[in-house]
Amino acid sequence: MSTQASSLTNTTIGKKMVMAVSGLVLFGFVIGHMLGNLQVFLGPDAINGYSHTLHATPVLIWGARSVLLVAIVAHATTAISLARLNRAARPVAYAVKKDIATDYAAKTMFWSGLTIALYIAYHLAHLTFGMTKGLGYQHLPFDANGLPDVYHNLVQSFRVPWCTALYVVAQGALSMHLYHGAWSLFQTLGVNHKRYNETLRSSAVAVAMAVCVGFLAVPLAVLFGVVK
């Protein structure tokens, strides 16, 4: 072949594929994380046991963390590069522009992504690194047996209304982000088919809703005293 085929990721389409693949990885993590969280409803032993198992297998946790880190870095840097490219593609904006097909979720992908990124930073600082100064409660890294006490940390923090409020906002951004990402990654990767496009769209709505409900169940349950 005579063409000096540059790499796929140099093209805008390739960049979108990076977004799709890294997004898919992060999507998988989000589902896993949500299922993990839902163990709160099974009581302290279940979720703490799950956390202990994870921590007891460094290959698993560090393996997962490195994959996630690569995905996040790829997703974020590519998003920034694409956003700049897209801005540059229309130097003079329309005075009047009506949208017909697109929706709020699609138009705010960059901002919902940024919201999620900021929330993740806060979330890690808060629950993973235990930086809880000023939150009005004592972070309890370990239980009576000296093992990490995820359950009580969670319950304590979500009793703080604004903690929960932040969480709700972040979930809103995440659900919208997931909804657009979930169906459009099929288009980007070219694995869609017109026969399934409608199903894809409605499945994306369903998945995004499920994730939203799944994640919000925990803090709301805590806030309203269902989980103590």
Binding site: M1, T3, I13, K16, G190, N192
Partner: protein, 258 residues
């Protein structure tokens, strides 16, 4: 009917543009949008003012010249139609109408509402053809092509190259145009020998022209006067990925052999 028009005026590519307001009266519901502009232009000429420059030619919706964003929509409020096929009965009497050119970095304004779309031609130059010499071809019926494939290639080939997809896209992306052009030829047996090279080169040219990326807003499909499906974009993505993979494999083999 009467209208208040808010029209983008710009001397040339370098000067800054501005909106000018015009009142127009005596329009009937049967006037096409461009005929309404003709009436306005004749009035302006009689007042010794510069008429509004805009591209148009066939006025039957097939040449792809006309290119106005009317009230925020590429080709205006009429679905599946070019601006020349838009009639004033689509507007309310007395309505205020905003008229802008296609806005994209890859479509610099030449004057007023006329823009330079030669970037689309350069995408074709990069590979939007089948390399056959005049006369050196097989008998037309030598290769049977199933009706489904021919029809689908025709669906893609219906593109009139107007650029409404770019104008409507929040990212000013030319993906629907490029996808339609690539897929028309990639679907057909005649297009197979050059399939990978065509796909790669046309996408690279599209990027080099400074069009934005596709964020799957699907505004392009909604604005397309020929209703070309955004499914072709998915297919282009797939074609590019496989072409790049094959190109890598081929260059890997070549270096191993060398």
């Amino acid at each position: 009917m009467k209208f208040k028009l808010n029209v983008w005026r710009q001397e040339n590519a370098k000067s800054a543009g501005r909106f000018e307001k015009y009142d127009i009266d005596g329009i009937t519901s049967g006037h096409s949008f461009l005929e309404m502009l003709d009436v306005l232009n004749e009035k302006l000429v009689m007042q010794g003012k510069d008429p509004i420059a805009f591209d148009h030619d066939c006025r039957e919706g097939i040449c792809g010249s006309c290119s106005l964003v009317v009230n925020g929509r590429a080709h205006g409020p009429q679905e599946a139609a070019t601006t020349c096929q838009l009639h004033m009965r689509k507007f309310r009497d007395g309505e205020e109408i905003n008229v802008e050119p296609w806005r994209a970095g890859a479509f610099p304004v030449i004057r007023d509402l006329a823009v330079d779309r030669s970037s689309l031609d350069r995408i074709i130059q990069a590979g939007g053809y089948v390399s056959v010499r005049t006369g050196a071809v097989a008998e037309a019926n030598a290769i049977p092509i199933s009706k489904d494939v021919a029809d689908r290639a025709m669906d893609a080939a219906a593109c009139i190259g107007c650029g409404a997809c770019v104008a409507a896209c929040p990212n000013a992306s030319a993906m629907l145009f490029t996808a339609a052009k690539v897929r028309h030829l990639n679907l057909l047996p005649q297009g197979q020998p050059e399939r990978d090279m065509r796909t790669i080169k046309m996408v690279e040219q599209m990027d080099a022209e400074g069009f934005g990326a596709c964020s799957n807003h699907l505004e392009c499909e909604a604005a397309c006067p020929k209703q070309i499906s955004a499914d072709f974009i998915g297919e282009l993505n797939r074609d590019l990925a496989t072409a790049m993979l094959r190109a890598r494999g081929a260059s890997g083999n070549a270096s191993a052999g060398g």
